[in-house]
């Protein structure tokens, strides 16, 4: 102050209010997180019941699994944070890939016939190849001709002559399409061989891309062949591990190959992160050794409710026999349907709004209303599904298609909003570069904007899918059955889902056992699947941000 003549130092300015405010904000940040975590710990404790195991069991795994893993992590950390990160990422990768392969195996064991799958793939691959050939044969084929040829070959391949158009006009089917032809072949190779033939090549391609060095053709071929052989072996040797050949192939290709390829690629190409692979190695070896040791000595494990029986059985009136299998499969089917229905529409809308739409009153109204749609309660979407599909279009209630369409409508605004954000994140300079080269808008969107924003779009849509599989109210509204005893094998069959099954156990069958054991077990499975999906989204987002 000007009046303060004896100047000693600068004095102090009080920060009490600011400090208080800061910690209040911290409390607000952690509030929800802490409570949900506590709840989940209780639920997981009920579901897995770790304390029912022998102390010897815990001790064994402490010695074989926990301590070696900690030691490996500490060693990797001393060699570099990157190494430890790679190691932890690999563990997560193994877990997520295992869960995915389980879901995929479920689809091929119970839902889709391998022959149908092969026929469908062929019916798509052949016209794709024909189209590519036509386009590359002469660049100057006019767009209209290209379009007509493309539509025609796809139609012929999928539906045959004259197909549904003909049956509308009353013409009998003259020749089946490629799909009908292959699906109707009297002789077909063994199902697991067909799956190996369809899953092997993509796995081999990914493997050779990731493991072999860039310009070494020989290494590419060798690695690819090795991966392919591994997939075939997975099917051939599956019976020795007590698994059928069909799930054997799927689990090998989807669950084992990706983490192994990742680990091999890291070991081969990234010397600094190689050490980190000790961590997943410690986990895998530790669990196997621990399991063998516990078995040999005879220590009893925890009486977990999340066990093989729970994952593979259908609902039963006694809690001990109740399983989650149809609900898990139903959720997976719903998710696939939602993805197929909502992604193209949502991404299309986002591209239109970001790249094409003029800035006028009409588009601004659309803008605001899409944000509003994202906030409409899910039960209203259920009502929409019921009214539109069941009452008006006279569809049977509670089917896969109906559920998928309703949930797809529900997440459509979220997909649009997140895809728009990803597209908006493409730098304006990149677009200007493309236009400056004489690209049309379509060429710019196709060659620059979409590739650049792809991972961002994917991240947002995966998170939206997570919202869809957790929804209960719309499924109740459209009349999905609470309890189903088998997986639906067609889009027109009724479907149940994980949250519905949990709801059924907690309300309709609310005996002590159901309430305290089956419900927590179901919740644990549901949350685990959600977390796995979200972790994929997070990994994608980090990768996307690091390449900016």
């Amino acid at each position: 102050m000007a009046t303060n003549t004896d100047f000693d130092g600068f004095g102090r300015v009080s920060r009490t209010a600011g400090t208080l405010f800061r910690y209040l904000l911290l409390a607000a940040t952690l509030f929800g997180l802490v409570f949900v975590t506590i709840l989940l710990v209780y639920v997981a404790n009920d579901a897995i019941q770790p304390l029912t195991a022998d102390p010897g069991w815990h001790l064994t795994f402490l010695l074989t699994l926990v301590l070696p893993t900690l030691a490996a992590s500490a060693y990797a950390y001393r060699r570099g944070v990157e190494a430890l990160r790679t190691g932890v990422f690999t563990i997560g990768f193994v877990v997520v890939a295992a869960m995915f392969s389980g879901g995929a195996a479920m689809i091929f064991v119970d839902i889709v016939e391998p022959l149908t799958w092969l026929a469908f793939l062929l019916a798509l691959a052949v016209p794709t190849a024909v189209t590519a050939l036509v386009v590359s044969y002469d660049h100057r084929v006019s767009f209209a001709a290209q379009f007509v040829v493309t539509v025609a070959v796809f139609y012929l391949s999928l539906f045959g002559v004259p197909g549904p158009l003909g049956s509308l006009a009353g013409v009998p089917s003259l020749a089946p399409g490629l799909f009908g032809f292959v699906a109707g072949l009297p002789y077909a190779p063994a199902p697991w061989l067909m799956l190996a033939a369809t899953f092997g090549p993509p796995a081999a391609y990914v493997g050779s891309r990731f493991v072999a060095a860039d310009r070494d053709r020989r290494a590419h071929v060798l690695v690819g062949a090795a991966v392919f052989a591994f997939v075939v072996l997975g099917g051939a040797l599956a019976p020795f591990a007590g698994v059928d050949r069909v799930p054997g192939v799927v689990v090998t290709a989807v669950g084992l190959v990706p983490p192994l390829v990742y680990a091999a690629g890291t070991a081969a190409n990234r010397p600094t992160e190689r050490v980190g692979l000790l961590v997943p190695a410690a986990v895998v070896v530790g669990s196997l050794v621990g399991a063998v040791a516990v078995d040999a000595v005879g220590f009893a494990g925890p009486q977990s409710w999340v066990d093989w029986q729970f994952l593979t059985n259908a609902h039963s009136s006694t809690a001990a026999d109740a399983g989650f299998y149809p609900a898990v499969g139903g959720s997976i089917l719903l998710m696939v349907t939602v993805a197929v229905l909502a992604f193209p529409v949502g991404i299309g809308a986002a591209v239109y709004l970001e790249e094409y739409a003029p800035d006028n009153r009409f588009t601004r109204v659309i803008d605001v209303n899409i944000s509003n749609l994202a906030g409409v309660p899910s039960v209203v979407y259920g009502l929409l599904g019921l009214g539109l599909f069941v009452t008006y279009l006279d569809q049977p209630p509670g089917t896969v298609l109906l559920g998928g369409a309703t949930l797809g409508l529900l997440i459509l605004p979220i997909v649009i909003i997140s895809a728009r954000e990803a597209i908006r994140a493409v730098p304006e300079e990149t677009r200007a570069a493309s236009y400056g080269m004489g690209a049309t808008k379509w060429q710019t969107v196709k060659n620059v904007v979409l590739p650049r924003s792809f991972s961002g779009i994917l991240t947002g849509t995966i998170l939206a899918l997570g919202r869809a599989i957790g929804e209960t109210a719309p499924l109740i509204m459209i009349g999905a059955p609470n309890v189903k005893y088998s997986l639906p094998t067609a889009l027109s069959e009724a479907v149940s889902a994980m949250p519905l099954q949990v709801y059924a156990w907690s309300s309709l069958y609310a005996s002590e056992d159901f309430y305290q054991k089956a419900v927590p077990a179901g919740v644990v499975v549901l949350v685990a699947i959600l977390l796995a999906m979200n972790s994929i989204a997070i990994v994608l987002r980090n990768k996307y941000q690091s390449t900016e």
């Binding site: 660049h139 100057r140 200007a432 570069a433 400056g436 080269m437």
Partner: protein, 292 residues
């Protein structure tokens, strides 16, 4: 827009996929290279503007610009910030079309054809007028795909591998990247990225190369590499370069246009004359650093 331009022999560029387009480009270039202008004399203008006004909404960015830019020369446009020099550059390939509030009056001709005529397709125009931007902006694609981008989207005939190699050589980048064409263009250094962008711009063999302060984001070494490159490119291309670095303009350009605040073209002439003996006092003040 002015529609009363006399019709010229230049055919209107219609749809983008005109197969004869590329052949005509090649012929034009060969003709200009063989019978090209002799040094010292001012060749025929390739780009001319008459009474060109540009408005951003109500604000005037360019004030009746008259200019004749000669072929196969480096023409520098200098001036203080906000004088409309980039705006003028973006008029030439109609990149201003992308700004909603931007309005252009008057006439700007490329080889006698008013580019603002209603029958001119801006996309076809931009295929004849390459552009290099201030910030290096390679696509997040491989080095090869970056250079081949224009060839792909314009369906250029010929061996793309060969054209990519030639373009990278002309951009003085081949020696540095020949072994790693599969790597991302974003992995290069700033100066390399800018030369990559130049290679990308010249790969489809445009007639005019527009450069919007191409060296302003680069360090001195990279700047001098890009400057050398521009001088070499002027043997085959008409280069119009915007810069706020007057030494740069003096070093590399044959002609210099000085824009001053208000979007006016104050003086246009041979670079030597502009820098040694400008006619206008305002230009002299600007060049000697009294303002700007």
């Amino acid at each position: 827009m002015s529609d009363n331009t006399p019709e010229t022999e230049e055919p209107a560029r219609g749809e983008t996929a005109d197969p004869t387009n590329d052949d005509m480009l090649v012929e034009t270039d060969v003709a200009s290279a063989t019978s090209g202008p002799t040094p010292g004399t001012t060749p025929d203008p390739i780009i001319s503007s008459r009474d060109l006004d540009v408005f951003y909404g109500e604000e005037r960015a360019l004030d009746s610009i008259d200019i004749d830019i000669p072929e196969n020369r480096v023409t520098a446009i200098i001036g203080p910030s906000g004088c409309g020099k980039s705006t003028f550059l973006r008029c030439i390939n109609r990149m201003n079309d992308r700004i909603d509030v931007c309005r252009v009056d008057g006439e700007l001709t490329l080889r006698g054809k008013n580019v603002y005529d209603p029958d001119v397709d801006p996309v076809a125009l931009r295929r004849r007028v390459g552009m290099v931007f201030q910030e290096p902006n390679p696509f997040p694609k491989s080095i090869y795909d970056n250079v081949a981008y224009g060839l792909e989207i314009q369906d250029v005939e010929g061996d793309h591998d060969e054209i990519v190699e030639q373009s990278l050589k002309r951009a003085a980048l081949w020696d540095e990247v020949s072994g790693r064409l599969d790597e991302s263009g974003l992995a290069l250094s700033g100066g390399q990225q800018q030369r990559l962008c130049i290679a990308r711009a010249i790969a489809p063999d445009p007639e005019v190369l527009l450069m919007d302060e191409p060296a302003s984001a680069l360090d001195p070494v990279a700047t001098s590499q890009v400057e050398d490159l521009i001088e070499e490119l002027a043997e085959d291309y008409t280069v119009v370069i915007v810069t706020h670095n007057m030494q740069q303009a003096a070093r590399i350009s044959d002609k210099t246009a000085v824009f001053l605040t208000g979007g006016e073209l104050v003086e246009f002439g041979d670079t030597d004359q502009i820098f040694e003996n400008p006619e206008h006092d305002r230009v002299e003040d600007y060049i000697t650093g009294k303002f700007g």
